[in-house]
Each structure stands twice: as C-alpha cells, then as structure tokens.
C-alpha cells in the first residue's frame, strides 16, 4: 500500500470522483439525455440516424407473445447475441456462435435448445436482468466478429476502446483487454487490462491491471507496446460525433472492431469512470482545461484534429 499526497494529485492534474460528479457530469450531462445512453435500443437507433456504425440489429422482442415466434425470428441467423435492453455488467447476454438446426451453440461450446432460449428471452422480458426489476426488452443482434489483429491482447473476449469525449473533443482513450481473470469481459474492476492509447497515433502508451502497471498481457504474454489501433482518426471522429448525437458533455464511447465492418459503436456511458487516467499514466485536468479554452464551434473532424495535435 502506497499513498500519495493531495498536492501530487493536483500537480499531476488528476481528476477525482467529486470533481467528476460535480464539474463534469453535473455540469455538462443533462438528466433528460440519460435515457439516450442508458437504453441500448435508443442509442442504436440514434447512432444509425447520425450515420455512426453500430452492430446490426436483428430483432427486438418486447412482449411475451412474441416469444412463441422465436423460432421464426431466429430462422435466418446462423449466429447472434441476445441481450437485455437495460442490462448492466454483461448480465443476461447470450452469444450464439453457430447453430445445428434448432440446437444453439454458445461461444463456450455449451449447447442450448430452442426452449432454453425461449425461457431466457422470457426472463429478460420480465426484468430478471434489469437492476430495477422493471419490464425489459430483449435485443437480438449480430455477433461482433472478433478481429484477429487484437488476438494477441485478449483472452476469450472482444477488447473494446473507451474514448472519453469532453464537450465534443476526445480527451483520453484506452483499450480494455479481457483476461482469464475478467472471464472474457472488458471490465476493468473484474481484472481486464486497461491500455492507455495515444490520442495522436492510436498506439499503446502504458497498461494497468487492477490499477497497477503491467507491460504484458497476463494470459497471452504479448507486449502491449506493440498494440496500435488502426483507422485511429476515424475511430476518434466516431466518438466525437457522439456529442452532437446525445448532447452529453462528458460521455464515454465504447467502440469495438469487427473483422468485416471495422469500428462499431458498442454503447455510450454518461458516467464514465476515472481509471482511464491510470491506464494513460496522466491526469485529465490539463486536457479538459485546454478544451475549455476552445471557444469556436467546430465539426467533429475539426475537433478530432485539435485533440490529435494539441491534446496528445
């Protein structure tokens, strides 16, 4: 256990939870916009409207009566994901990698019958996986085809890129790489590795696991310094345009890479955490202040240019 001092944190420009809650979320995220990001279906349709690529939506199941038709609904799809609209922490998500007739095989290899899937969807609708217990909607969408370029840095899961967008400007980015400990989930406090990404180049800067520096992936043993996100400017632009899309001034955009379709917006978060600072080895404060100094209206592309050139 090693403690630092208030002075050091201030000097390093680290943003703390209280500052984030009052000065970032409280000031720039209007409550009325939260449903746009808390509801995955709304985010998806909004993104499509704004031309931001998302995973393809196959079907939406809103009522128990539709559960009976599940067979017909699933008929055209070889692989798919079933997830609750208001789910959190990856609960209630089933990924079917392929099917043999009416037997569905999960990525883990477990076989499920159509009856199993019906039961699962029915549970989703009745709110089993939504935290408040309210009635929910089940989303059936396309499986993200894992892009092998990241296979060195992930264990049994799809890594995603979290970009913090402050008043339209991407201010910090990291990649979250699943590990054996995180059970294939890109969730930092479950043990995924956070890799800070250089805003200018998309290359890795440093990596942390459970808030402590690491250099190599604990399972694949590859050096994170070899990691570089392709099409970096396009990825940043995608994230930056979420500002116009949602009206949220402090938002976290989660982006995944599909082997065939490239970068896709996975979801948005109106309360992005601060661990990204540890992954990047630097504080957010200086970058936030630099953005605050920008007075003129800019397009997402212009803002990305500013971020790449002046914030990195």
């Amino acid at each position: 256990m090693k403690f630092t001092t208030f002075g050091t944190l201030r000097r390093k420009g680290i943003v703390g939870m209280n500052y984030r809650n009052i000065e970032l979320i409280g000031r720039y995220n209007p409550r009325s916009r939260y449903p746009l990001v808390d509801n995955k279906l709304m985010t998806k349709s909004l993104a499509t409207e704004w031309g931001v690529p998302v995973t393809e939506l196959y079907a939406v199941i809103e009522q128990q009566s539709q559960v009976r038709k599940l067979h017909d609904i699933l008929l055209p799809y070889e692989s798919f994901v079933i997830k609750p609209d208001h789910g959190s922490g990856g609960k209630g998500i089933i990924v079917i990698s392929h099917r043999e007739g009416d037997t569905f095989i999960k990525t883990s290899g477990e076989a499920l019958s159509l009856t199993d899937l019906r039961k699962h969807v029915s549970n989703v609708l009745s709110g089993l996986y939504s935290l408040g217990g309210r009635y929910d909607t089940a989303i059936i969408e396309k499986v993200v085809a894992f892009d092998p370029m990241f296979s060195d840095f992930s264990f049994e899961g799809v890594p995603d890129i979290r970009i913090i967008v402050y008043r339209g400007y991407p201010v910090m980015a990291m990649m979250r790489c699943p590990t054996r400990e995180s059970d294939g989930k890109a969730n930092l406090h479950q043990g995924a590795v956070g890799v800070g990404i250089d805003l200018r180049s998309g290359a890795a800067l440093s990596a942390v696991k459970h808030d402590h520096p690491v250099t190599h992936h604990p399972d694949t043993h590859h050096d994170f310094l070899n990691l570089k996100v392709p099409q970096w400017e396009a990825v940043l632009t995608m994230a930056a345009s979420c500002y116009e899309m949602t009206g949220l001034g402090y938002v976290g955009a989660d982006i995944v890479f599909d082997k065939n379709e490239g970068a896709l917006l996975l979801e948005l978060n109106a309360r992005p955490g601060l661990a990204i600072q540890i992954a990047n080895g630097r504080g957010l404060r200086a970058r936030l202040d630099a953005v605050d100094a920008q007075k003129q209206l800019r397009t997402p592309q212009e803002r990305v240019q500013f971020s790449m050139n002046d914030l990195a």
């Binding site: 256990m1 090693k2 403690f3 630092t4 001092t5 208030f6 050091t8 944190l9 201030r10 390093k12 680290i14 703390g16 939870m17 209280n18 500052y19 009052i22 000065e23 959190s88 922490g89 609960k91 549970n123 009745s126 709110g127 089993l128 935290l131 217990g133 406090h189 479950q190 440093s206 942390v208 808030d211 402590h212 520096p213 600072q277 540890i278 080895g281 630097r282 504080g283």
Partner: protein, 512 residues
C-alpha cells in the same frame, strides 16, 4: 449574478450562524445545560418543631412556604408522629396544622421541603403579606420618655432622606452606627427590645408599609438555625429589600424565603414551650431530570416550543429521529471525503440505529448471522430464477424465519440479548442480502466484500457518533444544531477535491 459556489457558501454560513445563535442564546440566557452530565443542586430544608406539653389538647400551626421566584419547590412532606396533620389554604397562604387531644411530655415534629434553585423559575402567584395589622399600635408601644427619642431619631432620619426607602436605609444605618446618637442609645436601652423590633416600630410609627422576609440561606450542613429576617419596604409600587445589619441589599442568591409578611411563622395552642429550627442538606442530581425540564419550560416562551413539551412517547421517537441527521453526516463524510464505498446510501445509518438498540457487539454478531444465512438461502433462490419482487419477498420471509428461530433457540439457551434482534430493519436487511448477492454475481466476491465491509465500517462509525451521550443530548436539547449539520452537508456536497481513498487509488499514477 452570484456564482453558485458563493451562494452555497453564503447559505451554509447563514444556516450555521442561525444554529449557533439559537444555541448560544439558549445556553447563555436560558441556562439550558450544554452537557448531559451537568449537575444541579437540590436542597432539603427541614423545619423541626420541638414541643413541650402544657397538658391536655395541644396544636401547632406552621406557615408553609409559598412559591417564589428563582427556587422551585419539588416536594413537601410532613412527619406527624402521633399528631394529626392537616393542611389549610387561607387567603394569606397555606398552613400546616398538627394537633393532638391529650398531649403529654415532649415531642419533635418535622416538615420537609425539597427544592432546587432555578434562575428561570417564576411562580404563577406571589403572596402579598403587606398586612400591617399585627404590628403593635405605637401609642401603646412607646413610653413618654421614649416618644421624644423616637421623634428625634425620625426627625433626623427624615431630614436626611427623600422617601420611604431612603428613610429606612437611614434608620438602619443609625442603629448600626458604632457610635450611636443619644436617642438611639436611649431606645436601645429599653428592656427586651432588639434593634430589629425598634426599627420596625419606628417604621410603623412613620406609616411606612413594610413586611418581614424570613428565610433560610441554602447552605449544605446548616443545622438548628433560626430564620434570617430581612426587611422589605414598599414605596408606591416599588419595593426595596434591607438587611437589618448592612442596610439595602438585593435578594441574596440561594436564600429560601419561608414567609413574607408580618405574622408569626408558627403559632401554638396548649403548648408550654415550642421551638422552631431549620436545617439544610444539599444533594447533586443530573440536570436531565424531567422536573428540571418542566421548570425550564415554564420559564420561557421560547422554550415553550422545545421538543421537551411533547408527550414522552413522541419525545422518544424524536430522540431517535434527530440522530439520523448525524448518521447521514457520517455517511456523507465517509463517502465524499474518505471515499468508502457502501451498499445502499443510507443503509449504514439504519444498521447503526439497530446497533444502538442491541449494543454493538451483539448487534454485529446477529447481523453476521442473519446476513450469512440469508446469503446462503439467496444463492439457492437465484438458481430458481425467480423474478425480483418474488425473490426479495422470499428473502424477507426467510430473514424473518431466521430471526424467529434465532430468538427462540437463544432464549431457550438463556441468551436474552438475541431477543433484541427484532430491532433490525428486516426489509433493509433483505435488500442488503439481495444487493450483496447481485454484487457478488456481477462484480465478484472481492467487490462485494469491499462494499459490504465499507458499509459496516460506516455503520460502526455512525453508531459511535449517534450513541454518544453528548451527541444525543445536543441533538435533542438543541435541535437548531441541525442547521449546522445541514450547512456541513451542503458544503461537503460541493466539495470537488480529492477523496482520501484516491490518494491510494491514484498512487501508481503519481510515482510515474
């Protein structure tokens, strides 16, 4: 337009100042005790009557002390021995009568009054006692030779005074002069007369309205004392108090007036010899006694709005209720300034309240027992895939069942402590079990332990803050202190600085 930060500071300051002002006012001007352990003096004044029989029927009438400013009479009690004892309320006050048909030999009778000095106490009715009827008519009192001396003295005093009060002062001064005038010496030579009776006779002659004030100084250990006599003189509607020894005085502190008036304190019939003496004992009692509160209440309109005016049951409810802001402040402190994660924002406060009822150690043991057995049951329920409402209802039922079983078993084993288990808020407990198991499934056992442990630390801290006798006393006696708590909460609510836990969390960042 004021900045919102400035507004917050202004509001917080105003709230804190208001709270402090009222507290200060109550402490300084109304004498409300600031600490729960403040001791108040209680005195017992005993009037002891020694009687010697004259043979046959005998009776004693004793004047009972009436209510007076600054001293509250708590209890009166007479001891009659073989005498019959009755009380009577007449126009000029209350009397106690002891009587016996065939009284032989000698005996002692007692009358005890317990009282507490209280600067705020105002009685509803004060006796008059300006009746001069008992004062001897001066034509029979003075012999011719003395009349001249009295006239000389009065002339002299009159010449050197302006009104009744200054004349009385002058008279007392003349009688106390180490080198008295001839006239004074002549009167003093008069047989059987004391300075006191001479001064009174002169005042009566001058037609000045006066009354004697007879009382006992409240000093611990006083024994076999006669009353101390003071003199009160009225001039129009103002009255002035005098000591026969030192002249004009103000009412001595801790002086218990037994009787204001010119009549006798005790009269007897069929008694050969009667002696009235007083004794005083002092005892210290905690100021929180209810009677004390009632005295305070009658003393001030401001305190008429105090929580002490509520019925006892409601008072107890408020005692609990007013502690909750303190618990909330502890939660605010730990979450915002320290950065401890808890399960449910105010769950720790509710558990702290339960711990107050059960005491900490046994409360914690019961908490762990219910929580762990609840979690085991819950983990089975989650395999049944029940819906949320049904699942929590099931947990509630199981929690109540666990509590009942624990109570019955431990009661049979003779551990009564466990019966207090009913003080645990079971709905909250069930939610805690639910949240904890969800957390366990979603974020892993480590996170569940961190948040569960954090909640427990905050609950224990809140328990110590709320169980403190000073805090209990202050919150209930000075509810306006809540304004200070409010201002603190508002101020902390705008704190954008780092949390203590972030010193640890961001430490790896600082050293790179």
């Amino acid at each position: 337009m004021m900045s919102s930060r400035f507004q917050i500071i202004l509001i917080a300051m105003l709230l804190a100042m208001t709270g402090l002002f009222f507290t200060w006012y109550k402490v300084v001007y109304l004498g409300v005790p600031l600490t729960p352990h403040e001791k108040r003096s209680f005195f017992t004044v005993t009037a002891e009557v020694d009687l010697k029989s004259a043979g046959g029927a005998g009776s004693v009438i004793l004047r009972m002390p009436s209510e007076q400013k600054g001293i509250k009479i708590l209890e009166r009690e007479g001891e009659s021995g073989q005498f019959g004892m009755t009380t009577a309320t007449l126009a000029d006050g209350r009397y106690l009568q002891w009587a016996k048909r065939d009284f032989e030999g000698s005996t002692k009778l007692f009358y005890k009054v317990s009282l507490s000095p209280d600067a705020l106490y105002e009685p509803e009715r004060v006796e008059a006692g300006w009746n001069m009827a008992s004062i001897v008519d001066d034509t029979q009192y003075w012999e011719v030779s003395e009349q001249a001396a009295a006239a000389t003295i009065l002339d002299e005093a009159r010449a050197r005074s302006a009104d009744a009060v200054s004349l009385t002062a002058q008279l007392i001064d003349m009688f106390n002069n180490p080198v008295p005038t001839d006239a004074v010496r002549e009167l003093l030579a008069k047989k059987h007369e004391t300075k006191t009776s001479l001064i009174l006779a002169l005042l009566a002659h001058e037609k000045i309205a006066f009354r004697k004030v007879r009382g006992i100084p409240l000093e611990d250990g006083l024994k076999q004392r006669r009353t101390t006599t003071l003199l009160e003189v009225r001039d129009e509607d103002k009255a002035a108090l005098f000591s026969f020894k030192t002249g004009r005085i103000s009412m001595p502190e801790r002086f218990f007036v037994w009787y204001r008036g010119n009549g006798a304190i005790m009269t007897t019939k069929g008694i050969e010899k009667a002696k009235l003496r007083f004794s005083v004992t002092e005892s210290k009692v905690a100021a929180t006694a209810l009677s004390e509160r009632e005295a305070l209440r009658q003393g001030s309109d401001f305190l008429n709005f105090s929580l002490y005016t509520l019925p006892a049951t409601q008072q107890n409810a408020f005692k609990q209720l007013l502690l909750i802001p303190i618990g909330a402040l502890v939660v605010v402190f730990f979450r915002i300034l320290v950065g401890i994660r808890t399960m449910g924002t105010f769950m720790p406060v509710l558990f702290a309240l339960a711990f107050i009822q059960t005491t900490l150690i046994s409360g914690l043991m019961m908490f762990f027992a219910i929580l762990s057995s609840g979690l085991i049951v819950r983990s089975y329920l989650s395999r049944l895939q029940l819906l949320l409402v049904a699942r929590i209802s099931a947990v509630i039922i199981v929690v109540i069942a666990i509590m009942s079983v624990m109570s019955i078993v431990s009661y049979k084993l003779g551990i009564d402590e466990v019966l207090k288990i009913t003080f645990f808020p079971m709905i909250i407990l069930s939610w805690t079990i639910e949240r904890m198991s969800i957390l366990w499934e979603e974020a892993g056992g480590r996170e569940a332990m961190i948040q569960g442990g954090g909640s427990l630390i905050v609950a224990i801290a809140a328990f110590f803050a709320m169980d403190n006798s000073y805090v209990r006393h202050l919150t209930f006696t000075f509810p306006e202190l809540l304004l200070i708590v409010l201002s603190l909460v508002i101020l902390i609510g705008r704190y954008t600085g780092y949390r203590l836990s972030e010193l640890l969390r961001f430490a790896p960042l600082a050293h790179r």
